[in-house]
Symmetry: C2
Subunit: 210 residues, 2 copies
């Protein structure tokens, strides 16, 4: 039988994907390799949880549709696990979509649980992963509680970037969604901040001026 190890260059992946670096051999061989098209649904709300998803290339996002049909992003992952919190759930609480052509690894839940029990270093990494996700989400809640577009932008650059400098890894339109703003509001706020001399913009490179 052909396994993931035949398809995948693990050493290269590990170099590129910190999250994958400590996946034990026993778990690797049980993984499934999946290529998803843009806009392809990975799972739907209510589906039974059968796999843990690791995004290798591209982007996957967790979304929920409000009653107005408006999409809300719960998680966005480029190179990392997605829906980690569903590891102990029976069914999914949201939908997962590939934003673009995306490569994923699917680990069967049972094997994943077994690896978490047996391999100490893997377990520690996993717990750290969960803690990081919590801190990231707390930062996002903090940001969304700010009332003005400008404040949210600054908060984002300061918490996601380093030293007031940040290189965006997404379009501004999707950034606007992360910030809980319309894209128009984001464009205007950015322009205002530029002309006020509070921000420097060069392509995807943003720098806060003191």
């Amino acid at each position: 039988m052909k396994t993931v190890n035949d398809v995948l260059d693990w050493p290269a992946l590990i170099a590129a994907q910190p999250a994958a670096s400590l996946i034990p051999e026993t778990l690797r061989v049980s993984a499934r390799w999946v290529e998803a098209d843009a806009h392809e649904m990975l799972f739907l709300i209510g589906d039974p949880v059968r796999h843990v998803y690791l995004v290798i290339r591209g982007e996957a996002r967790l979304v929920r549709l409000g009653r107005n049909g408006c999409e809300v992003i719960l998680q966005r992952s480029r190179g990392g696990f997605i829906a980690e919190a569903s590891l102990d759930s029976r069914t999914y609480h949201c939908d997962a979509i590939a934003s673009e052509p995306t490569t994923l690894l699917l680990f069967p839940i049972a094997a994943f649980h077994a690896a978490l029990e047996d391999v100490i270093v893997f377990r520690k990494t996993w717990q750290l992963q969960l803690a990081r996700e919590i801190q990231k989400l707390r930062a996002q809640c903090e940001r969304l509680c700010l009332h003005s577009a400008t404040e949210r932008i600054i908060h984002f650059i300061e918490s996601e970037g380093s030293d007031g400098v940040l290189t965006l890894s997404q379009s501004r339109k999707s950034w606007a969604k992360d910030l809980g703003l319309t894209h128009e509001a984001l464009y205007r706020a950015l322009k205002r901040m530029q002309s006020d001399g509070r921000l420097e913009v060069e392509g995807n490179h943003l720098a806060i001026k003191p």
Copy 2:
């Protein structure tokens, strides 16, 4: 030496505190018992992480002060762990305050880590705890991305309550902070929803009308 077991009626606590139910004996005896006054700081941003905090009675909250001096709530815990995500951090990323007279258990970090390694059932409970926290935070981000006060209120009742009915366990003023609104906006939205016949309010009992 006097231990926590002398002060604390564990069976009673366990009945009242699901989160405490699986704390192993070895960890229990190392716990410290703390009574905090209202507004007392439990730890400050930058403090080294020495303990894991479990709220027994009262309420503790994690906050961060924005540049405008406005307080943002990152976590609020009544009867459960607080700052779980700091278990693997060296220092705290936010302040912790007791909202009211509060009783806490403090578990030394080292003992906590040891218990996580040694006691399978405790470890599983802990991982579940982290996953639940992630899902709760995702729901909150989803809520904060809604643009109107009314939508946030409905979302909160539907996700935190059951079947469109919810009993508030906090003042409306602090609820407003959770919703990312001013208290005035919350009061007005509630009144509007009542007069529109979309919501029924009796003290802390809220019910969405279909």
